[in-house]
């Protein structure tokens, strides 16, 4: 058992507040006005809301049991954090070769080209008690639950 972000597409209302708060959480000030002001230029949300008609959901890294991204990463940046067991991208090491983007079955990694090229991916708001998207989802369309190991990479 470990904690995962569980997506409830039936409850997602496509408001994209998750994206907003993800960006804020990863800004240096963690202040929404500042994050969207000056800092905005190099920040992007680490999750995407997919939308097709009324159906929508916010997608972030699925924390695969057998993560294709780690397998494919040639720099060693994509790794399983020994402390938390979470799949993380060490942005200091990432060279932006996009091998991970090529293999992530969920399409959960994006190019961040705003600063130095890095693979942008959910880090579960490392260190925070609750990932920001979960904490700020107004409709509990994202929950942070204990789930039995499973994931896209199976």
């Amino acid at each position: 058992m470990s904690k995962r972000i569980v997506i409830h597409e039936e409850h997602c209302i496509g408001c994209r507040l998750c994206e907003v708060h993800c960006l804020v959480q990863h800004s240096s000030s963690k202040d929404i006005i500042k994050a969207y002001g000056g800092e905005h230029s190099h920040l992007m949300p680490r999750l995407t809301v997919e939308e097709d008609g009324p159906l929508s959901f916010a997608l972030q890294c699925r924390q695969c049991e057998e993560p294709s991204c780690v397998e494919a990463c040639v720099s060693g940046a994509m790794h399983r954090d020994p402390l938390t067991g979470m799949i993380m991208c060490d942005e200091e090491r990432c060279v932006g070769c996009w091998m991970c983007i090529m293999v992530c079955p969920a399409g959960a990694i994006q190019q961040n080209l705003l600063g130095t090229k890095i693979a942008s991916k959910c880090d579960l708001c490392y260190g925070a008690e609750l990932p920001a998207c979960v904490a700020h989802c107004p409709n509990e369309a994202l929950t942070f639950d204990d789930v039995a190991e499973k994931g896209a990479g199976s």
């Binding site: 409850h11 997602c12 496509g14 408001c15 507040l17 002001g37 009324p54 107004p138 409709n139 509990e140």
Partner: protein, 504 residues
């Protein structure tokens, strides 16, 4: 097209220093008020379409938004107020009836606010509900004339056969709101909250969705003039049945669910073709007398083998006391009365605001009449039509109700902001809508939790007030008008309510 004379009801204020142009408001407004202008990366608004539901204000992550009444003022006129003018402009433009949603919004007297409760001081002790048991349990249904008990040495058994009862842990039920007028998620929230709180919710006249049969034990199923979704399984799935004659918001008027709201799911549940208007006739076409009503009551009792109480719901109108008496004599186990301020999904504004009487007066009249006829025990009395807080509930019970129905309060608990635009089907809170974009906004997990919280909070307050009065069981409060005093009421009103004036 000629110029519309209608001016905006609200104006949107957006603090540019706070707006981050995240467009949450744009995505959330079903009335298309907010829009994003990519040219200058700003979000702006068409104030004209704002209904004041506060969805945007609530979701805006930077609190950049405020919605104000349009400060535009008409030349003051005690008779020709702005609402009157706006209505006339609108009707002159459309040639149609004025429609509205929710209950009467006119400043008629709210008697709850002119009644005060008693408390024990010195001569009789008050009770601390935290330390001592406090009974809110309520049974709805006909009570026997008298109880016959067998005493066989080692214990007592009840010989009298009781008629079926509804057992409520708290004397508050969720009032009828049909699947169609409200969303499935709202229905599910009500059903789950009723189950959790040990009370009942009411299907309204829209039938019962198959997915909600699992809450049957906590369901009161309605049989209304349109007979939508009524079949044997439906009757048997519920804990009680309710024949709907009238509704406080629109006494004497039928219902009309427009075809756009009759989605596939709703058409199946109501057993009508998809996309057709669901029209409930004003009267039941098989009920033109108390005798006819009796036939339907007994038809339902037969169909359900006398295992379920049958309720009859009427709107509070002028002759409510004899009407209620007739209903009791027709065999109803419960009489539900809905007052002037009762809510609705859609009603002609004139009817909503001008037809019927306030529930407070109706309870008093009916309770007194049934007592005087010696038939009060033959049916329970459920009062509806704007119970806004636990004090209203306590007052209703003290006036003579056995329990209350709440609808508007329940909707508010789920997020309703009383914008009164239910009839447009664009409820931004996902409650009074069938639009799949909007219905998702009410997560039934959250809805059920909020409703259950509300009931819990009210039950705590009710116990507190009862304790203050020195009453430890809701039974002892029922019809005990000595606990009420009128404030600022004239003698006629006091008499109608059957209470003394404060100070007396």
């Amino acid at each position: 097209m000629a110029l519309s004379l209608a001016t905006a009801s609200f104006v949107i204020e957006r603090d540019p220093a706070r707006c981050i142009a995240c467009q949450v408001c744009v995505r959330q407004c079903a009335n298309d008020v907010h829009f994003y202008d990519a040219d200058d990366d700003t979000v702006r608004a068409h104030d004209q379409s704002c209904v004041g539901c506060h969805r945007c204000v609530t979701l805006c992550p930077t609190q950049a938004l405020s919605v104000r009444l349009n400060p535009l003022e008409y030349r003051p006129h005690a008779n020709w107020g702005p609402d009157i003018l706006r209505n006339i402009y609108k009707q002159a433009e459309t040639g149609g009836m004025l429609l509205t949603g929710m209950g009467d919004d006119q400043p008629q007297r709210i008697y709850w606010d002119h009644m005060v409760l008693n408390a024990s001081q010195v001569t009789n002790p008050s009770i601390d509900p935290v330390r001592e048991p406090m009974e809110l349990k309520t049974y709805l249904g006909a009570k026997p004339e008298r109880l016959e008990i067998d005493d066989h040495g080692d214990g007592l058994t009840l010989r009298t056969e009781l008629t079926p009862q509804l057992e409520l842990d708290i004397p508050i039920m969720f009032s009828a709101m049909s699947y169609g007028s409200i969303s499935f998620n709202a229905c599910e929230s009500l059903a789950r909250a009723a189950t959790e709180a040990g009370t009942y919710y009411n299907t309204g006249e829209g039938g019962l969705h198959p997915a909600l049969y699992q809450y049957g034990e906590r369901t009161i199923a309605q049989v209304a003039s349109g007979r939508f979704g009524v079949h044997l399984d439906y009757l048997n799935a519920a804990a009680a049945l309710e024949i709907k004659i009238g509704q406080g918001a629109k006494p004497g008027i039928g219902g009309h669910l427009p075809g756009e709201k009759v989605t596939l799911d709703i058409s199946r549940t109501r057993m009508i073709p998809q996309g057709t208007d669901a029209l409930s006739p004003a009267p039941h076409h098989d009920i033109y007398s108390i005798e006819d009503l009796r036939q339907l009551i007994y038809a339902i009792k037969e169909a359900t083998h006398y295992t379920k109480p049958v309720s009859v719901k009427v709107a509070a109108v002028h002759n409510i006391a004899p009407i209620a008496s007739g209903i009791v004599r027709a065999g109803a186990d419960i009489v539900a009365i809905d007052g002037l301020r009762g809510g609705t999904g859609a009603a002609p504004t004139m009817v909503r605001n001008n037809v019927g009487i306030p529930i407070e007066l109706a309870i008093a009249a009916v309770d007194a009449r049934l007592r005087s006829e010696g038939i009060r025990h033959r049916a329970s009395l459920v009062a509806a039509g704007s119970m806004r807080c636990s004090a209203d509930v306590v007052k209703a019970i003290a006036l003579g109700a056995d329990a209350v129905y709440i609808a508007t309060s329940a909707l508010v608990a789920m997020g309703c902001h009383l914008c009164q635009h239910c009839y447009t089907g664009k409820c931004n809170w996902g409650i009074a809508t069938q639009d799949p974009y909007l219905t998702k906004r009410l997560n039934p997990n959250i809805g059920a939790q909020r409703l259950a919280n509300l009931l819990r909070a009210w039950s705590l307050e009710i116990k507190e007030m009862m304790g203050g009065m020195g009453v430890n069981s809701i039974e002892s409060l029922r019809g005990n008008r000595d606990h009420l005093r009128g404030l600022g009421l004239n003698q006629v009103e006091l008499d109608a309510l059957g209470i003394k004036a404060a100070g007396m």
